[in-house]
C-alpha cells in the first residue's frame, strides 16, 4: 500500500475517522487501534513477515526490561548482546546471506577452491532495516541508561510499528517518539493543516519529481552504451533528483500523516542539495540514519576523540557500514567509501563543522562562492550516486570514466542538450526548475509550502495548492515503488 495510492487514501480515511471519533477518548484504545492498523498496513505488503515484525518487537520489549532489571553489568551486557545478535542475525539472514555466500564463493574460486554454496531465494521483508534500527536504538538507550523501558507492550509495539514510518523511516528514537505514544494527544488544527500541506509537498516530490526523473534516469542507466558521456552525467543528475524526491517525498508524507494523528516525527531531510560541503550534505541527507550511526556507532567507537587517525578510521567505518546498510552489494560499499573519501579532507583540515547555518541565511540569493561550493558538492554527490544506482562496481567505474572522457567534447554536450530538449522535454525541465526555486525559497523552513502558509494571503496560497494538486494528478503515472522500501 503506497502512500501515493487510492488504497492508502481509503485506509487512512478509515484510520483517521476511527482514531479520533471512536477511540479518541481513551489513549489505551487509541494506541491499541493504531498498533493494529499498523499491522494491517504491514500485512498489505506481505502478511508472512508480520510474524517477524512481532517477534522482533517482543524480543526488544523483553530485552529492554531485562537489561534494565539486570543486577550486574555482565548480565546487562549479555542481554544487550543477545538482543543485538538476534536482531542483526535476522537482518543478516534476510538481507546479507546471499551476498556473503556469493562473495566468499568468488573469493575462494579466485584461489582455486571450488565451492557449491547454496544461494537462498530469500524475499527481503519490507522495512526490516528500519524497524530493526528502531528496536536497536531502544535497547541501546536503555543500556546507556538514557531511558527507562516501557512496560506497556502496546505502546512499545506502536513505537516500533507506527505505520507512517514502518517501511521507510524516518528512523525514530525511543527518546523522541515513545513519550508521544504514552502522552494523550489532542487534535490541533494548525498541526493538521501543516500535515496536509506537507503531504501535498511530499506527493509532488514523489509523483512529479521522482517518478518523472525515474523514467529518464532508468533509460540512460539501462541503455548507457547508446549515450555520450555528458548525457550519462545528466542521467546520474536525474537519478540524484529521483532519489531525493522519492525518499524525502516519502518522509514528508510520513511526517504529514503522523501530524494528522497528532505525532511529530524526526526531520529526515534539510535541503541537502543546497549544501556547501560534503559534511554539510551529510548533516542534511537522511538525518535520522546519519544521527543513528553517529550516536550508536561513531561515538561508541571513540568518535573524534583519540587523534586524527582514530577519527579517520571511525569515519570510514561508519560510511562503509552506512553503505552496507543500504543494500547487500559492493556498489553500496563503494558508495559509502567514496563519501568517506569526500569527507576526509574536511576532517583533516577541521572544516567539517563549517556551514552549520542555512546557505544565504539572511539573503535572497547565494553569493558566487556559495554557488560554486553548492555546485561542486552536488557534482560530487552525483558521481557517488552513480555507484548507488549501478548494477555493479565495474559498470559504475566505466560509467564515470565515460563522463570524465567526454568532459571536453563539445559534441557530447550537444547530444545531451538534444536529449534534454526532445526526450526529457521542456515541461519536465521547467517543473524541475520550479521545484528547485520553491525549495530554495523554503530552505529555512521544514518544507517550502510553510513559507507560503506564513507569508502569502490565503487565496494566492490556495491557488498554489491547487496548481500543485493538478500537476500531481496530471503526472501521477504508473506508480513506482519507493526506492528505500528495498532497504
Amino acid at each position: 500500500m503506497l502512500f501515493n495510492s487510492l488504497n492508502f487514501l481509503l485506509f487512512f480515511i478509515i484510520v483517521f475517522s476511527l482514531y479520533w471519533f471512536v477511540f479518541g477518548r481513551r489513549l489505551a484504545w487509541q494506541n491499541l487501534f493504531l498498533m493494529l492498523a499498523s499491522y494491517v498496513f504491514y500485512a498489505f505488503w506481505d502478511w508472512r513477515f508480520l510474524f517477524l515484525l512481532i517477534f522482533s518487537t517482543c524480543l526488544d520489549f523483553v530485552s529492554g526490561i531485562q537489561i534494565y532489571r539486570a543486577k550486574s553489568d555482565k548480565l546487562r551486557r549479555l542481554y544487550l548482546v543477545l538482543s543485538v545478535g538476534i536482531n542483526l542475525g535476522f537482518l543478516g539472514v534476510f538481507k546479507y546471506y546471499n551476498f556473503f555466500a556469493d562473495s566468499l564463493a568468488r573469493l575462494l574460486e579466485a584461489g582455486g577452491i571450488h565451492t557449491h554454496w547454496t544461494l537462498l531465494s530469500i524475499v527481503l521483508p519490507v522495512g526490516i532495516s528500519f524497524y530493526t534500527f528502531h528496536g536497536l536504538s531502544y535497547v541501546f538507550d536503555i543500556y546507556n541508561r538514557k531511558i527507562e523501558p516501557s512496560y506497556n507492550f502496546v505502546n512499545y509495539s506502536l513505537f516500533v510499528s507506527f505505520f507512517p514510518l514502518l517501511v521507510a523511516g524516518p528512523i525514530e528514537r525511543a527518546t523522541h517518539l515513545l513519550p508521544q505514544v504514552e502522552k494523550p494527544r489532542q487534535f490541533s488544527y494548525e498541526q493538521a493543516c501543516d500535515g496536509i500541506t506537507q503531504i501535498l509537498w511530499g506527493l509532488f516530490k514523489k509523483v512529479v519529481i521522482a517518478d518523472g526523473c525515474a523514467q529518464f534516469a532508468n533509460q540512460i542507466f539501462n541503455e548507457s552504451g547508446q549515450f555520450g558521456g555528458i548525457t550519462l552525467f545528466a542521467g546520474a543528475a536525474l537519478f540524484a533528483f529521483q532519489i531525493y524526491g522519492d525518499f524525502s517525498g516519502y518522509s514528508d508524507m510520513a511526517m504529514g500523516v503522523s501530524k494528522l494523528l497528532g505525532f511529530e516525527l524526526l526531520r529526515n531531510f534539510n535541503y541537502p542539495y543546497f549544501s556547501r560541503s560534503i559534511p554539510e550534505f551529510w548533516r542534511r541527507w537522511h538525518i535520522s540514519l546519519s544521527s543513528w550511526f553517529r550516536d550508536y556507532l561513531y561515538i561508541p567507537l571513540g568518535g573524534s576523540r583519540g587523534g586524527r587517525w582514530h577519527s579517520l578510521r571511525n569515519l570510514i567505518i561508519i560510511f562503509v557500514v552506512s553503505g552496507f546498510w543500504h543494500g547487500a552489494n559492493w556498489t553500496f560499499v563503494v558508495w559509502g567509501l567514496l563519501n568517506a573519501l569526500y569527507y576526509i579532507p574536511s576532517l583533516l583540515f577541521k572544516s567539517n563543522r563549517d556551514h552549520l547555518n542555512t546557505v544565504a541565511e539572511d539573503r535572497a540569493l547565494p553569493n558566487f562562492k556559495e554557488l560554486m561550493q553548492m555546485m561542486a558538492t552536488f557534482i560530487m554527490t552525483v558521481f557517488a550516486w552513480v555507484f548507488f544506482r549501478a548494477p555493479s562496481v565495474q559498470f559504475a567505474f566505466s560509467y564515470c570514466h565515460r563522463i570524465l572522457l567526454a568532459a571536453f567534447d563539445p559534441n557530447a554536450y550537444k547530444e545531451m542538450l538534444t536529449y534534454v530538449r526532445w526526450t526529457i522535454g521542456i515541461p519536465m525541465m521547467l517543473i524541475l526548475f520550479c521545484f528547485m526555486v520553491l525549495e530554495w525559497v523554503g530552505r529555512r523552513e521544514l518544507h517550502p509550502l510553510l513559507v507560503f502558509r506564513k507569508h502569502i494571503p490565503k487565496p494566492a496560497r490556495h491557488a498554489l495548492y491547487y496548481v500543485i494538486l493538478i500537476v500531481v494528478f496530471l503526472f501521477a503515472g504508473k506508480q513506482q515503488q519507493f526506492i528505500y522500501f528495498q532497504f
Binding site: L6, F187, Y189, C193, Y465, F473, F475, A476
Partner: protein
C-alpha cells in the same frame, strides 16, 4: 476538528466538482472522436465496424492490410481491427464486441510470432478510457498489469497520470470535427528504413517467444465458434524482413503451429513469411512492419489470394 473538516471539505469540493465535470466532458468527446484508437473503438461500439470482412491481429494487421485494396477485389465491405501492441487476447475482446451486432462473413486473421503470447502490461492504456464502463472490456483489461479497479469505479481517477490525453483534449485534437487519421482502422506508415533500425537490429538479442497455452486454447475456441456461427476464418502471416526473422528462435515452430491449426480446422493459411518482399528494406520501416509501399503490395497479393479463396470455396 470541526473547523478542520469543514475547511478540508470546502477545499476538496471544488476539485471534486471540477474533476467530475472534466471526466464527463472528456469521456463524451473521446466517444465521438475519430482520432486514432478512439476512432476504432467508437466504430466498434457503435456498430460502424460491423462489416462483411474483418481484419484481426496486432499492429501487423493494422498497418499492413488496406481495406480499400481488399474491398476493390473481394467486393465486400472491410474493416481493419488490428490493435497495436496486443495479441490474440485483445483481438478476441474486439471480436466479442463485434458479435453483439451483425456478425462478419469473413475474418482475416493476420498472425505474427506473438499472436499466441499474452503481454503482461496494459500497453496504451489511454485507448480504453472512454469505455471502462463496459463490463466485458473492464474484465478483460483487469488481467493486465497497470490496471486499477478504481479507474472504472471512481470518476476522474482514470485520468490521473493521463496528462497527454488531457492536453490533447484541451488542444481540441479529439473534437468530432477533426478528420480521422485512419481509414476503416487502417493507417499506412509513410516511413522508411533508417540506419537507426540497422543499429537497433545489431543490438537486438535472440529470444524465445513463450506460447501461452490458454491463448492457444482460446484461439482454437474462437475458430470453433466462428465455424459454428458460419464465419469464414482465413489465416495470413504477413511478411517480416529477413533481418528480423532470426530474433525469434522458435519462429519456425510457431509457424508450424499455425499450419497445424489451419489444417485441423480446415482453414486457408496464406503464409507470406518467406515472400520476396521480406528481402527488401525499401518495403519496411522496421523488421516487423511494412511501410506504405510494402503494405500496398502485400494488400494486393492478399486481396488476390482472398478473391480466389472466396470465389472457389463456398462457405462451409
Amino acid at each position: 476538528m470541526k473547523r478542520f473538516l469543514i475547511n478540508l471539505l470546502l477545499s476538496v469540493l471544488p476539485v471534486a466538482v471540477f474533476a467530475l465535470w472534466l471526466d464527463w466532458r472528456v469521456v463524451k468527446d473521446l466517444r465521438h472522436s475519430n482520432h486514432g484508437d478512439y476512432g476504432v473503438w467508437n466504430d466498434l461500439y457503435s456498430g460502424r465496424a460491423n462489416k462483411d470482412l474483418l481484419i484481426y491481429g496486432s499492429s501487423r494487421a493494422w498497418v499492413h492490410i488496406d481495406p480499400v485494396v481488399l474491398e476493390d477485389s473481394v467486393r465486400m465491405s472491410v474493416y481493419n481491427l488490428g490493435v497495436d501492441g496486443y495479441n490474440f487476447d485483445m483481438s478476441s475482446l474486439r471480436h466479442d464486441i463485434i458479435m453483439r451486432g451483425v456478425p462478419p462473413k469473413v475474418i482475416v486473421y493476420a498472425l505474427d510470432g506473438s499472436t499466441l503470447f499474452k503481454r503482461k502490461d496494459l500497453y496504451n492504456q489511454a485507448q480504453f478510457l472512454p469505455y471502462l464502463d463496459d463490463d466485458a472490456l473492464e474484465k478483460r483489461i483487469s488481467g493486465y498489469e497497470g490496471y486499477s479497479a478504481w479507474d472504472a469505479r471512481l470518476p476522474f481517477v482514470k485520468f490521473i497520470g493521463q496528462y497527454r490525453v488531457l492536453f490533447r483534449w484541451f488542444n481540441g485534437d479529439f473534437s468530432a470535427g477533426v478528420p480521422a487519421d485512419r481509414y476503416r482502422g487502417f493507417k499506412a506508415q509513410h516511413v522508411n528504413w533508417t540506419k537507426d533500425v540497422d543499429e537497433l537490429i545489431k543490438h537486438q538479442k535472440q529470444l524465445t517467444q513463450p506460447l501461452d497455452t490458454s491463448s492457444i486454447r482460446r484461439f482454437e475456441l474462437f475458430l470453433q465458434q466462428c465455424r459454428a456461427s458460419h464465419i469464414r476464418v482465413i489465416l495470413t502471416y504477413p511478411p517480416e524482413h529477413i533481418l528480423g526473422q532470426q530474433f525469434v528462435s522458435n519462429r519456425t515452430s510457431i509457424i508450424r503451429i499455425y499450419r497445424s491449426l489451419a489444417s485441423i480446422y480446415d482453414i486457408p493459411f496464406l503464409d507470406y513469411s518467406s515472400d520476396t518482399l521480406c528481402m527488401d528494406k525499401k518495403y519496411f520501416y522496421n523488421s516487423q512492419h511494412l511501410n506504405d509501399v510494402g503494405a500496398t503490395i502485400y494488400s494486393r497479393k492478399l486481396a488476390s489470394a482472398l478473391k480466389g479463396i472466396l470465389k472457389d470455396a463456398p462457405q462451409k
